[in-house]
Symmetry: C2
Subunit: 308 residues, 2 copies
DNA sequence: TTGAAAGCGCTAACAT
DNA sequence: ATGTTAGCGCTTTCAA
Protein backbone atom coordinates (compact mmCIF):
# COMPACT_ATOMS: atom_id res chain seq x y z
CA UNK A 1 0.00 0.00 0.00
CA UNK A 2 1.23 3.50 0.76
CA UNK A 3 3.76 2.39 3.32
CA UNK A 4 5.69 0.81 0.50
CA UNK A 5 5.81 4.13 -1.23
CA UNK A 6 7.02 5.80 1.94
CA UNK A 7 9.75 3.23 2.18
CA UNK A 8 10.96 3.89 -1.32
CA UNK A 9 10.80 7.63 -0.68
CA UNK A 10 13.09 7.18 2.27
CA UNK A 11 15.40 4.83 0.41
CA UNK A 12 15.84 6.85 -2.69
CA UNK A 13 15.74 10.22 -0.98
CA UNK A 14 13.03 11.33 -3.28
CA UNK A 15 12.00 14.97 -3.12
CA UNK A 16 9.14 16.47 -5.04
CA UNK A 17 10.24 19.00 -7.60
CA UNK A 18 9.20 22.44 -6.40
CA UNK A 19 8.98 23.83 -9.90
CA UNK A 20 6.55 21.17 -11.03
CA UNK A 21 4.42 21.72 -7.95
CA UNK A 22 4.48 25.44 -8.50
CA UNK A 23 3.48 24.99 -12.10
CA UNK A 24 0.45 22.91 -11.39
CA UNK A 25 -0.66 24.51 -8.17
CA UNK A 26 0.02 28.10 -9.10
CA UNK A 27 1.80 28.62 -5.84
CA UNK A 28 5.53 28.95 -5.57
CA UNK A 29 5.83 29.12 -1.82
CA UNK A 30 7.96 32.22 -2.24
CA UNK A 31 7.01 35.58 -0.86
CA UNK A 32 8.77 38.87 -1.34
CA UNK A 33 9.67 41.56 1.10
CA UNK A 34 9.63 44.77 -0.88
CA UNK A 35 11.79 47.47 0.58
CA UNK A 36 12.04 50.99 -0.70
CA UNK A 37 15.77 51.28 -0.17
CA UNK A 38 18.99 49.63 -1.10
CA UNK A 39 19.69 46.42 0.69
CA UNK A 40 22.39 47.90 2.87
CA UNK A 41 20.01 50.51 4.22
CA UNK A 42 17.80 47.72 5.38
CA UNK A 43 20.54 46.38 7.55
CA UNK A 44 21.47 48.25 10.63
CA UNK A 45 17.94 49.44 11.16
CA UNK A 46 16.78 47.49 14.19
CA UNK A 47 13.17 47.85 13.12
CA UNK A 48 13.75 46.02 9.89
CA UNK A 49 15.96 43.54 11.60
CA UNK A 50 13.15 42.63 13.92
CA UNK A 51 10.55 42.68 11.17
CA UNK A 52 12.58 40.36 8.99
CA UNK A 53 13.05 38.11 11.94
CA UNK A 54 9.31 37.89 12.40
CA UNK A 55 8.78 37.32 8.70
CA UNK A 56 11.26 34.49 8.86
CA UNK A 57 9.34 32.94 11.73
CA UNK A 58 6.10 33.30 9.82
CA UNK A 59 7.63 31.71 6.76
CA UNK A 60 8.83 28.77 8.79
CA UNK A 61 5.31 28.28 10.13
CA UNK A 62 3.68 28.41 6.74
CA UNK A 63 6.34 26.53 4.86
CA UNK A 64 7.22 29.53 2.77
CA UNK A 65 10.45 31.20 1.96
CA UNK A 66 10.98 34.86 1.43
CA UNK A 67 13.18 36.94 -0.72
CA UNK A 68 14.16 40.55 -0.37
CA UNK A 69 13.13 42.71 -3.28
CA UNK A 70 14.84 46.06 -3.04
CA UNK A 71 13.25 48.91 -4.95
CA UNK A 72 15.64 51.75 -5.68
CA UNK A 73 14.12 54.76 -4.01
CA UNK A 74 14.58 57.50 -6.65
CA UNK A 75 12.28 55.80 -9.11
CA UNK A 76 10.40 53.78 -6.55
CA UNK A 77 7.60 53.10 -8.94
CA UNK A 78 5.92 49.90 -9.84
CA UNK A 79 7.51 49.86 -13.27
CA UNK A 80 11.00 49.32 -12.02
CA UNK A 81 9.90 47.28 -9.10
CA UNK A 82 9.55 43.89 -10.60
CA UNK A 83 12.46 43.12 -12.86
CA UNK A 84 10.05 40.54 -14.22
CA UNK A 85 10.96 38.47 -11.21
CA UNK A 86 8.69 39.59 -8.46
CA UNK A 87 5.89 39.04 -10.91
CA UNK A 88 4.61 35.53 -11.01
CA UNK A 89 7.46 34.09 -9.06
CA UNK A 90 6.20 35.20 -5.69
CA UNK A 91 2.85 34.30 -4.19
CA UNK A 92 2.64 37.69 -2.59
CA UNK A 93 4.63 40.52 -1.17
CA UNK A 94 4.96 42.38 2.07
CA UNK A 95 5.47 46.11 1.74
CA UNK A 96 6.16 48.53 4.53
CA UNK A 97 4.16 51.73 4.45
CA UNK A 98 6.18 54.88 4.28
CA UNK A 99 6.13 58.37 2.87
CA UNK A 100 6.61 57.26 -0.69
CA UNK A 101 4.99 53.86 -0.63
CA UNK A 102 1.47 54.50 -1.84
CA UNK A 103 2.06 54.48 -5.59
CA UNK A 104 4.13 51.36 -5.17
CA UNK A 105 1.38 49.61 -3.25
CA UNK A 106 -1.35 50.50 -5.70
CA UNK A 107 0.95 49.64 -8.59
CA UNK A 108 1.55 46.24 -7.12
CA UNK A 109 -2.14 45.68 -6.65
CA UNK A 110 -2.84 46.71 -10.22
CA UNK A 111 -0.33 44.14 -11.32
CA UNK A 112 -2.44 41.57 -9.53
CA UNK A 113 0.10 40.85 -6.85
CA UNK A 114 -1.21 39.85 -3.48
CA UNK A 115 0.00 42.52 -1.07
CA UNK A 116 0.15 42.84 2.69
CA UNK A 117 1.09 46.26 3.97
CA UNK A 118 2.93 46.73 7.22
CA UNK A 119 1.89 50.03 8.73
CA UNK A 120 -0.71 52.42 7.48
CA UNK A 121 -0.49 53.80 3.96
CA UNK A 122 -2.38 56.97 3.18
CA UNK A 123 -4.91 54.98 1.26
CA UNK A 124 -5.36 52.20 3.72
CA UNK A 125 -8.72 50.87 2.71
CA UNK A 126 -9.35 47.70 0.80
CA UNK A 127 -6.01 46.21 1.56
CA UNK A 128 -4.55 43.60 3.79
CA UNK A 129 -2.47 45.25 6.41
CA UNK A 130 -0.86 44.79 9.80
CA UNK A 131 -0.22 47.64 12.13
CA UNK A 132 0.17 48.40 15.79
CA UNK A 133 -1.90 50.51 18.14
CA UNK A 134 0.00 53.72 17.54
CA UNK A 135 -2.71 55.92 18.86
CA UNK A 136 -3.61 53.91 21.94
CA UNK A 137 0.01 53.28 22.76
CA UNK A 138 0.84 56.96 22.62
CA UNK A 139 -2.19 57.82 24.66
CA UNK A 140 -1.13 55.35 27.34
CA UNK A 141 2.38 56.78 27.42
CA UNK A 142 1.26 60.38 27.70
CA UNK A 143 -1.51 59.38 30.08
CA UNK A 144 1.10 57.87 32.32
CA UNK A 145 3.14 61.05 32.27
CA UNK A 146 0.02 62.99 33.19
CA UNK A 147 -0.71 60.64 36.08
CA UNK A 148 2.82 61.10 37.27
CA UNK A 149 2.04 64.77 37.57
CA UNK A 150 3.98 66.17 34.66
CA UNK A 151 2.55 69.48 33.56
CA UNK A 152 4.21 70.51 30.34
CA UNK A 153 4.51 67.43 28.19
CA UNK A 154 6.14 67.95 24.84
CA UNK A 155 5.83 65.84 21.71
CA UNK A 156 8.87 65.10 19.60
CA UNK A 157 7.99 63.14 16.51
CA UNK A 158 8.60 62.63 12.82
CA UNK A 159 7.41 64.98 10.13
CA UNK A 160 3.81 64.60 9.10
CA UNK A 161 4.52 62.49 6.03
CA UNK A 162 5.13 59.60 8.37
CA UNK A 163 1.70 58.28 9.08
CA UNK A 164 2.65 56.50 12.26
CA UNK A 165 3.98 59.80 13.55
CA UNK A 166 0.67 61.50 12.88
CA UNK A 167 -1.15 58.71 14.68
CA UNK A 168 1.13 58.92 17.67
CA UNK A 169 0.52 62.64 17.78
CA UNK A 170 -3.21 62.00 17.85
CA UNK A 171 -2.70 59.67 20.78
CA UNK A 172 -0.74 62.38 22.52
CA UNK A 173 -3.64 64.76 22.02
CA UNK A 174 -6.08 62.11 23.16
CA UNK A 175 -4.36 61.80 26.49
CA UNK A 176 -4.22 65.53 27.04
CA UNK A 177 -7.85 65.99 26.17
CA UNK A 178 -8.86 63.04 28.28
CA UNK A 179 -7.14 64.73 31.20
CA UNK A 180 -9.05 67.89 30.48
CA UNK A 181 -6.00 69.76 29.34
CA UNK A 182 -5.51 72.01 26.39
CA UNK A 183 -3.28 70.51 23.77
CA UNK A 184 -0.80 73.19 23.09
CA UNK A 185 0.78 73.01 19.65
CA UNK A 186 3.73 74.99 20.92
CA UNK A 187 4.81 71.83 22.73
CA UNK A 188 4.88 69.84 19.48
CA UNK A 189 8.05 69.53 17.45
CA UNK A 190 8.66 67.50 14.35
CA UNK A 191 11.82 66.48 12.57
CA UNK A 192 13.34 63.51 10.77
CA UNK A 193 12.66 60.29 12.67
CA UNK A 194 16.30 59.84 13.60
CA UNK A 195 18.45 60.46 16.61
CA UNK A 196 19.64 63.71 15.11
CA UNK A 197 16.06 64.72 14.35
CA UNK A 198 15.10 64.01 17.94
CA UNK A 199 18.00 66.07 19.16
CA UNK A 200 17.21 69.13 17.09
CA UNK A 201 13.48 68.92 17.78
CA UNK A 202 14.17 68.68 21.49
CA UNK A 203 16.59 71.60 21.47
CA UNK A 204 13.88 73.67 19.83
CA UNK A 205 11.26 72.40 22.24
CA UNK A 206 13.31 73.34 25.30
CA UNK A 207 12.46 77.01 24.85
CA UNK A 208 8.98 75.99 25.97
CA UNK A 209 10.36 74.57 29.22
CA UNK A 210 8.70 71.12 29.09
CA UNK A 211 8.96 68.92 32.17
CA UNK A 212 8.37 65.78 30.12
CA UNK A 213 8.75 64.68 26.52
CA UNK A 214 6.99 61.95 24.62
CA UNK A 215 9.26 60.95 21.75
CA UNK A 216 7.45 59.14 18.95
CA UNK A 217 10.38 56.81 18.27
CA UNK A 218 13.18 55.47 20.42
CA UNK A 219 15.90 56.92 18.21
CA UNK A 220 14.27 60.31 18.63
CA UNK A 221 14.17 59.68 22.37
CA UNK A 222 17.89 59.00 22.21
CA UNK A 223 18.28 62.35 20.47
CA UNK A 224 16.27 63.96 23.22
CA UNK A 225 18.69 62.50 25.77
CA UNK A 226 21.57 64.05 23.86
CA UNK A 227 19.87 67.43 23.61
CA UNK A 228 19.10 67.48 27.31
CA UNK A 229 22.64 66.49 28.18
CA UNK A 230 23.94 69.33 26.03
CA UNK A 231 21.80 71.75 27.99
CA UNK A 232 22.87 70.28 31.29
CA UNK A 233 19.44 68.88 32.05
CA UNK A 234 18.91 65.55 33.76
CA UNK A 235 16.54 62.72 32.93
CA UNK A 236 14.10 62.33 34.61
CA UNK A 237 14.64 65.01 37.27
CA UNK A 238 14.49 67.96 34.91
CA UNK A 239 12.69 66.38 32.00
CA UNK A 240 11.05 62.97 31.90
CA UNK A 241 11.08 61.01 28.66
CA UNK A 242 8.97 58.23 27.20
CA UNK A 243 9.76 56.76 23.81
CA UNK A 244 8.08 54.46 21.33
CA UNK A 245 9.47 51.28 19.78
CA UNK A 246 11.00 49.12 22.47
CA UNK A 247 13.06 47.13 20.03
CA UNK A 248 15.38 44.49 21.40
CA UNK A 249 19.06 45.21 21.06
CA UNK A 250 18.35 48.89 20.86
CA UNK A 251 21.14 51.13 22.05
CA UNK A 252 20.77 51.15 25.79
CA UNK A 253 20.09 54.56 27.19
CA UNK A 254 21.06 55.78 30.63
CA UNK A 255 18.84 56.22 32.53
CA UNK A 256 16.84 53.37 31.05
CA UNK A 257 14.12 54.53 28.70
CA UNK A 258 10.45 54.07 29.40
CA UNK A 259 8.86 53.26 26.08
CA UNK A 260 5.82 52.01 24.27
CA UNK A 261 6.76 48.56 23.09
CA UNK A 262 5.48 47.55 19.70
CA UNK A 263 5.62 43.85 18.76
CA UNK A 264 7.55 44.19 15.55
CA UNK A 265 8.46 40.55 15.11
CA UNK A 266 4.83 39.67 15.69
CA UNK A 267 3.91 42.16 12.98
CA UNK A 268 6.17 40.29 10.58
CA UNK A 269 4.74 36.92 11.52
CA UNK A 270 1.22 38.20 11.16
CA UNK A 271 1.95 39.71 7.78
CA UNK A 272 3.08 36.32 6.53
CA UNK A 273 -0.04 34.77 8.01
CA UNK A 274 -2.26 37.18 6.12
CA UNK A 275 -0.39 36.44 2.93
CA UNK A 276 -0.70 32.73 3.45
CA UNK A 277 -4.38 32.80 4.29
CA UNK A 278 -6.51 32.35 1.22
CA UNK A 279 -9.32 34.72 0.39
CA UNK A 280 -9.71 38.00 2.21
CA UNK A 281 -8.94 41.03 0.16
CA UNK A 282 -9.17 43.62 2.87
CA UNK A 283 -8.43 43.19 6.50
CA UNK A 284 -6.52 45.16 9.06
CA UNK A 285 -4.86 43.40 11.93
CA UNK A 286 -3.88 45.88 14.60
CA UNK A 287 -1.57 44.52 17.25
CA UNK A 288 -1.49 45.93 20.75
CA UNK A 289 1.39 47.86 22.21
CA UNK A 290 2.42 47.91 25.83
CA UNK A 291 4.00 50.52 28.01
CA UNK A 292 7.32 49.47 29.49
CA UNK A 293 8.25 51.65 32.41
CA UNK A 294 11.83 52.34 33.32
CA UNK A 295 13.83 55.13 34.89
CA UNK A 296 13.35 57.88 32.34
CA UNK A 297 9.97 58.93 33.71
CA UNK A 298 10.15 58.11 37.36
CA UNK A 299 9.33 61.16 39.36
CA UNK A 300 12.57 60.53 41.22
CA UNK A 301 11.68 61.42 44.82
CA UNK A 302 8.25 59.98 44.39
CA UNK A 303 6.49 63.23 45.14
CA UNK A 304 8.05 65.96 43.02
CA UNK A 305 5.41 65.81 40.38
CA UNK A 306 2.42 64.51 42.23
CA UNK A 307 -0.44 66.94 42.20
CA UNK A 308 0.00 70.42 40.88
CA UNK B 1 6.88 37.93 -38.13
CA UNK B 2 8.31 38.20 -34.64
CA UNK B 3 7.53 41.87 -34.33
CA UNK B 4 3.88 40.92 -34.35
CA UNK B 5 4.48 38.64 -31.43
CA UNK B 6 6.28 41.42 -29.59
CA UNK B 7 3.32 43.65 -30.19
CA UNK B 8 0.91 41.17 -28.71
CA UNK B 9 3.24 40.62 -25.77
CA UNK B 10 3.16 44.32 -25.08
CA UNK B 11 -0.58 44.55 -25.58
CA UNK B 12 -1.60 41.68 -23.42
CA UNK B 13 1.09 42.18 -20.82
CA UNK B 14 2.17 38.62 -21.26
CA UNK B 15 4.77 37.32 -18.86
CA UNK B 16 6.35 33.91 -19.06
CA UNK B 17 5.47 31.71 -16.14
CA UNK B 18 8.57 31.26 -14.00
CA UNK B 19 7.44 27.92 -12.66
CA UNK B 20 7.03 26.46 -16.13
CA UNK B 21 10.42 27.77 -17.17
CA UNK B 22 11.98 26.37 -14.04
CA UNK B 23 10.37 23.02 -14.63
CA UNK B 24 11.65 22.58 -18.12
CA UNK B 25 15.02 24.25 -17.74
CA UNK B 26 15.88 22.89 -14.33
CA UNK B 27 16.85 26.35 -13.20
CA UNK B 28 14.74 28.38 -10.84
CA UNK B 29 16.76 31.56 -10.89
CA UNK B 30 16.75 31.50 -7.12
CA UNK B 31 19.86 31.27 -5.04
CA UNK B 32 20.14 30.95 -1.31
CA UNK B 33 22.35 32.71 1.16
CA UNK B 34 22.89 30.25 3.95
CA UNK B 35 23.71 31.86 7.24
CA UNK B 36 24.63 30.04 10.39
CA UNK B 37 22.69 32.31 12.69
CA UNK B 38 19.24 33.62 13.27
CA UNK B 39 18.16 36.29 10.87
CA UNK B 40 18.41 39.09 13.38
CA UNK B 41 22.03 38.28 14.05
CA UNK B 42 22.70 38.82 10.40
CA UNK B 43 21.49 42.35 10.61
CA UNK B 44 23.59 44.89 12.33
CA UNK B 45 26.77 43.20 11.25
CA UNK B 46 28.23 45.56 8.67
CA UNK B 47 30.13 42.75 7.06
CA UNK B 48 26.99 40.85 6.21
CA UNK B 49 25.24 44.02 5.26
CA UNK B 50 27.89 44.71 2.69
CA UNK B 51 28.05 41.11 1.55
CA UNK B 52 24.31 40.96 1.01
CA UNK B 53 24.51 44.19 -0.85
CA UNK B 54 27.07 42.72 -3.20
CA UNK B 55 25.04 39.55 -3.59
CA UNK B 56 22.07 41.67 -4.51
CA UNK B 57 24.14 43.43 -7.16
CA UNK B 58 25.32 40.13 -8.52
CA UNK B 59 21.79 38.81 -8.64
CA UNK B 60 20.65 41.84 -10.58
CA UNK B 61 23.43 41.26 -13.09
CA UNK B 62 22.62 37.61 -13.55
CA UNK B 63 18.88 37.91 -13.40
CA UNK B 64 18.68 35.91 -10.24
CA UNK B 65 17.00 36.48 -6.96
CA UNK B 66 18.24 35.38 -3.63
CA UNK B 67 16.68 34.22 -0.46
CA UNK B 68 18.09 34.08 3.02
CA UNK B 69 18.21 30.62 4.50
CA UNK B 70 18.96 30.81 8.18
CA UNK B 71 20.38 27.69 9.79
CA UNK B 72 19.88 27.55 13.54
CA UNK B 73 23.35 27.43 14.99
CA UNK B 74 22.97 24.81 17.75
CA UNK B 75 22.22 22.05 15.29
CA UNK B 76 23.85 23.71 12.34
CA UNK B 77 23.96 20.49 10.44
CA UNK B 78 22.86 19.69 6.95
CA UNK B 79 19.86 17.71 8.16
CA UNK B 80 18.03 20.65 9.57
CA UNK B 81 19.32 23.00 7.00
CA UNK B 82 16.96 22.47 4.18
CA UNK B 83 13.39 22.30 5.40
CA UNK B 84 12.86 20.65 2.03
CA UNK B 85 12.91 24.12 0.58
CA UNK B 86 16.52 24.87 -0.04
CA UNK B 87 16.65 21.59 -1.84
CA UNK B 88 15.62 21.76 -5.45
CA UNK B 89 14.15 25.19 -5.19
CA UNK B 90 17.43 27.01 -5.34
CA UNK B 91 19.98 26.75 -8.10
CA UNK B 92 22.76 27.08 -5.62
CA UNK B 93 23.75 28.53 -2.31
CA UNK B 94 26.34 30.86 -0.93
CA UNK B 95 27.76 29.90 2.43
CA UNK B 96 30.14 31.91 4.51
CA UNK B 97 33.03 30.01 6.02
CA UNK B 98 33.25 30.10 9.77
CA UNK B 99 34.30 28.01 12.73
CA UNK B 100 31.37 25.67 12.44
CA UNK B 101 30.69 25.73 8.73
CA UNK B 102 32.63 22.76 7.40
CA UNK B 103 30.09 20.01 8.09
CA UNK B 104 27.41 22.20 6.66
CA UNK B 105 29.34 22.81 3.48
CA UNK B 106 30.16 19.18 2.91
CA UNK B 107 26.61 18.21 3.79
CA UNK B 108 25.29 20.60 1.20
CA UNK B 109 27.65 19.22 -1.39
CA UNK B 110 26.63 15.69 -0.58
CA UNK B 111 23.05 16.73 -1.16
CA UNK B 112 24.10 17.77 -4.63
CA UNK B 113 23.61 21.46 -4.05
CA UNK B 114 25.85 23.80 -5.95
CA UNK B 115 27.81 25.71 -3.31
CA UNK B 116 30.02 28.77 -3.34
CA UNK B 117 31.90 29.43 -0.16
CA UNK B 118 32.81 32.92 0.94
CA UNK B 119 36.02 32.77 2.89
CA UNK B 120 38.23 29.79 3.52
CA UNK B 121 36.80 26.68 5.12
CA UNK B 122 39.22 24.26 6.72
CA UNK B 123 38.72 21.88 3.86
CA UNK B 124 38.97 24.39 1.09
CA UNK B 125 39.87 22.17 -1.82
CA UNK B 126 37.58 21.09 -4.56
CA UNK B 127 35.07 23.80 -3.98
CA UNK B 128 34.06 27.06 -5.50
CA UNK B 129 35.07 29.85 -3.24
CA UNK B 130 35.70 33.56 -3.04
CA UNK B 131 38.09 35.07 -0.59
CA UNK B 132 40.28 38.08 -0.11
CA UNK B 133 44.04 38.41 0.20
CA UNK B 134 44.12 38.08 3.96
CA UNK B 135 47.77 37.20 4.09
CA UNK B 136 49.05 39.79 1.63
CA UNK B 137 46.85 42.48 3.08
CA UNK B 138 48.13 41.86 6.56
CA UNK B 139 51.68 41.75 5.34
CA UNK B 140 51.21 45.11 3.67
CA UNK B 141 49.74 46.62 6.81
CA UNK B 142 52.48 45.37 9.08
CA UNK B 143 55.09 46.15 6.45
CA UNK B 144 53.90 49.72 6.46
CA UNK B 145 54.20 49.90 10.22
CA UNK B 146 57.72 48.58 9.96
CA UNK B 147 58.62 51.15 7.33
CA UNK B 148 57.24 53.82 9.59
CA UNK B 149 59.80 52.75 12.12
CA UNK B 150 57.64 51.01 14.66
CA UNK B 151 59.64 48.53 16.67
CA UNK B 152 57.29 46.47 18.77
CA UNK B 153 54.30 45.65 16.63
CA UNK B 154 51.62 43.62 18.33
CA UNK B 155 48.97 41.41 16.75
CA UNK B 156 45.44 41.44 18.07
CA UNK B 157 43.23 38.97 16.27
CA UNK B 158 40.50 36.38 16.57
CA UNK B 159 40.94 32.97 18.11
CA UNK B 160 42.50 30.36 15.86
CA UNK B 161 39.22 28.75 14.86
CA UNK B 162 38.65 31.71 12.59
CA UNK B 163 40.59 30.87 9.49
CA UNK B 164 40.87 34.42 8.27
CA UNK B 165 42.43 35.32 11.59
CA UNK B 166 45.05 32.64 11.17
CA UNK B 167 45.82 33.88 7.68
CA UNK B 168 46.14 37.44 8.84
CA UNK B 169 48.53 36.28 11.52
CA UNK B 170 50.64 34.58 8.89
CA UNK B 171 50.76 37.84 6.97
CA UNK B 172 51.88 39.58 10.12
CA UNK B 173 54.70 37.09 10.48
CA UNK B 174 55.57 37.43 6.80
CA UNK B 175 56.17 41.13 7.19
CA UNK B 176 58.30 40.70 10.27
CA UNK B 177 60.40 38.01 8.67
CA UNK B 178 60.72 39.98 5.48
CA UNK B 179 62.13 42.82 7.53
CA UNK B 180 64.59 40.45 9.14
CA UNK B 181 62.95 40.62 12.50
CA UNK B 182 62.09 37.89 14.92
CA UNK B 183 58.42 37.25 15.20
CA UNK B 184 57.81 37.27 18.90
CA UNK B 185 54.75 35.32 19.98
CA UNK B 186 54.59 37.39 23.12
CA UNK B 187 53.29 40.21 20.98
CA UNK B 188 50.39 38.10 19.71
CA UNK B 189 47.03 38.14 21.45
CA UNK B 190 43.82 36.43 20.45
CA UNK B 191 40.25 36.85 21.57
CA UNK B 192 36.73 36.90 20.18
CA UNK B 193 36.57 38.96 16.95
CA UNK B 194 34.52 41.69 18.56
CA UNK B 195 35.16 45.10 19.97
CA UNK B 196 35.20 43.66 23.45
CA UNK B 197 37.60 40.94 22.33
CA UNK B 198 39.89 43.56 20.85
CA UNK B 199 39.77 45.53 24.04
CA UNK B 200 40.69 42.66 26.33
CA UNK B 201 43.38 41.36 23.98
CA UNK B 202 44.90 44.81 23.79
CA UNK B 203 44.84 45.29 27.54
CA UNK B 204 46.71 42.04 27.88
CA UNK B 205 49.13 42.99 25.12
CA UNK B 206 50.01 46.31 26.72
CA UNK B 207 52.19 44.58 29.29
CA UNK B 208 54.56 43.98 26.39
CA UNK B 209 54.76 47.70 25.68
CA UNK B 210 54.01 47.61 21.93
CA UNK B 211 54.45 50.82 19.97
CA UNK B 212 52.04 49.64 17.27
CA UNK B 213 49.21 47.16 16.95
CA UNK B 214 47.87 45.38 13.92
CA UNK B 215 44.26 44.45 14.68
CA UNK B 216 42.90 41.69 12.46
CA UNK B 217 39.43 43.23 12.27
CA UNK B 218 38.16 46.77 12.54
CA UNK B 219 35.89 46.00 15.48
CA UNK B 220 38.93 44.64 17.29
CA UNK B 221 40.78 47.81 16.35
CA UNK B 222 37.93 49.77 17.91
CA UNK B 223 38.41 47.70 21.04
CA UNK B 224 42.11 48.52 20.95
CA UNK B 225 41.24 52.21 20.86
CA UNK B 226 39.10 51.75 23.94
CA UNK B 227 41.77 49.81 25.77
CA UNK B 228 44.40 52.44 25.00
CA UNK B 229 42.08 55.22 26.09
CA UNK B 230 41.49 53.40 29.35
CA UNK B 231 45.22 53.29 29.93
CA UNK B 232 45.62 56.94 28.99
CA UNK B 233 47.58 56.13 25.85
CA UNK B 234 47.18 58.11 22.67
CA UNK B 235 46.78 56.92 19.09
CA UNK B 236 49.09 57.14 17.24
CA UNK B 237 51.60 58.92 19.46
CA UNK B 238 51.91 56.17 22.03
CA UNK B 239 50.62 53.25 20.02
CA UNK B 240 49.86 53.20 16.30
CA UNK B 241 47.01 51.03 15.04
CA UNK B 242 46.12 49.46 11.73
CA UNK B 243 42.94 47.48 11.32
CA UNK B 244 41.44 45.14 8.74
CA UNK B 245 38.03 45.41 7.08
CA UNK B 246 37.45 48.95 5.89
CA UNK B 247 33.72 48.53 5.68
CA UNK B 248 31.64 51.51 4.71
CA UNK B 249 29.44 52.94 7.41
CA UNK B 250 31.68 51.49 10.04
CA UNK B 251 31.68 53.32 13.33
CA UNK B 252 34.07 56.19 12.75
CA UNK B 253 37.06 56.11 15.00
CA UNK B 254 38.99 59.12 16.19
CA UNK B 255 41.74 59.42 15.12
CA UNK B 256 40.71 57.90 11.81
CA UNK B 257 41.73 54.28 11.46
CA UNK B 258 44.27 53.08 8.94
CA UNK B 259 43.01 49.75 7.73
CA UNK B 260 43.32 47.01 5.17
CA UNK B 261 40.25 47.40 2.99
CA UNK B 262 38.64 44.22 1.78
CA UNK B 263 36.13 44.48 -1.07
CA UNK B 264 33.24 42.75 0.64
CA UNK B 265 30.53 43.79 -1.79
CA UNK B 266 32.75 42.61 -4.61
CA UNK B 267 33.09 39.29 -2.84
CA UNK B 268 29.31 38.96 -2.83
CA UNK B 269 29.02 39.87 -6.50
CA UNK B 270 31.75 37.44 -7.40
CA UNK B 271 30.13 34.66 -5.41
CA UNK B 272 26.95 35.09 -7.41
CA UNK B 273 29.00 35.09 -10.59
CA UNK B 274 30.60 31.78 -9.69
CA UNK B 275 27.21 30.33 -8.91
CA UNK B 276 25.79 31.54 -12.18
CA UNK B 277 28.68 30.30 -14.28
CA UNK B 278 28.09 26.81 -15.55
CA UNK B 279 30.62 24.09 -15.11
CA UNK B 280 33.60 24.54 -12.83
CA UNK B 281 33.52 22.48 -9.71
CA UNK B 282 36.52 23.93 -8.00
CA UNK B 283 37.88 27.38 -8.30
CA UNK B 284 39.12 29.95 -5.87
CA UNK B 285 38.78 33.61 -6.65
CA UNK B 286 40.93 35.67 -4.35
CA UNK B 287 40.23 39.37 -4.42
CA UNK B 288 42.89 41.92 -3.58
CA UNK B 289 42.86 44.10 -0.53
CA UNK B 290 44.27 47.59 -0.27
CA UNK B 291 45.82 49.53 2.53
CA UNK B 292 43.98 52.71 3.40
CA UNK B 293 46.16 55.03 5.41
CA UNK B 294 44.70 57.44 7.91
CA UNK B 295 45.73 59.05 11.17
CA UNK B 296 46.01 56.02 13.39
CA UNK B 297 49.49 55.13 12.22
CA UNK B 298 51.03 58.42 11.27
CA UNK B 299 54.26 58.86 13.09
CA UNK B 300 52.93 62.24 14.21
CA UNK B 301 56.00 64.46 14.06
CA UNK B 302 57.28 62.64 11.06
CA UNK B 303 60.48 61.52 12.72
CA UNK B 304 59.62 59.95 16.03
CA UNK B 305 59.77 56.44 14.78
CA UNK B 306 62.13 56.70 11.89
CA UNK B 307 65.14 54.53 12.33
CA UNK B 308 65.83 52.92 15.63
C1' DT C 1 -8.61 1.17 -2.58
C1' DT C 2 -5.50 1.55 -6.60
C1' DG C 3 -4.38 2.84 -11.40
C1' DA C 4 -4.43 5.72 -15.69
C1' DA C 5 -4.51 10.01 -17.94
C1' DA C 6 -4.90 14.85 -18.80
C1' DG C 7 -2.69 19.03 -18.54
C1' DC C 8 -0.27 23.16 -15.95
C1' DG C 9 3.12 26.73 -19.52
C1' DC C 10 6.98 26.49 -21.08
C1' DT C 11 11.62 24.92 -24.06
C1' DA C 12 13.90 22.36 -27.32
C1' DA C 13 14.12 19.38 -30.88
C1' DC C 14 12.14 18.46 -34.79
C1' DA C 15 9.68 19.00 -39.50
C1' DT C 16 8.01 21.98 -42.90
C1' DA D 1 12.30 31.41 -41.66
C1' DT D 2 8.04 29.47 -39.47
C1' DG D 3 5.06 25.74 -37.54
C1' DT D 4 4.41 21.52 -34.81
C1' DT D 5 5.22 18.38 -31.04
C1' DA D 6 7.11 15.95 -27.12
C1' DG D 7 7.82 16.23 -22.50
C1' DC D 8 9.73 18.55 -17.90
C1' DG D 9 7.29 16.35 -12.77
C1' DC D 10 3.88 17.09 -10.63
C1' DT D 11 -1.69 17.36 -9.09
C1' DT D 12 -6.17 16.39 -10.01
C1' DT D 13 -9.87 14.11 -12.09
C1' DC D 14 -11.86 10.22 -13.60
C1' DA D 15 -11.93 5.01 -14.44
C1' DA D 16 -11.33 0.47 -12.91
Amino acid sequence: MRSRVQAVIAETGYRPNPAARALVSNRSGLIGLVILTDVDELFGDPYYSELVNGIQQGCAEHDLIFTIVPVPLPTGHSDTLAPQLAQGLVDGVIVTAGPRSDPLISGLRDLGVRVVVVGHPDDGDQILRVDVENRLGSRAAVGHLIEDGYERIGFVGPTSDFRFGAERLVGYHDALIEAGRDSDDRLVRRAAPSEEGGRSATLSLLTERPDAIFAATDPMAAGAYRALAERGLNVPEDVAIVGFDGLPRQALLDPSLSTVVQPVAEVGRTAVGLLAAEGQDAKSVILPTSLRLASSCDPGDGVAHLGA
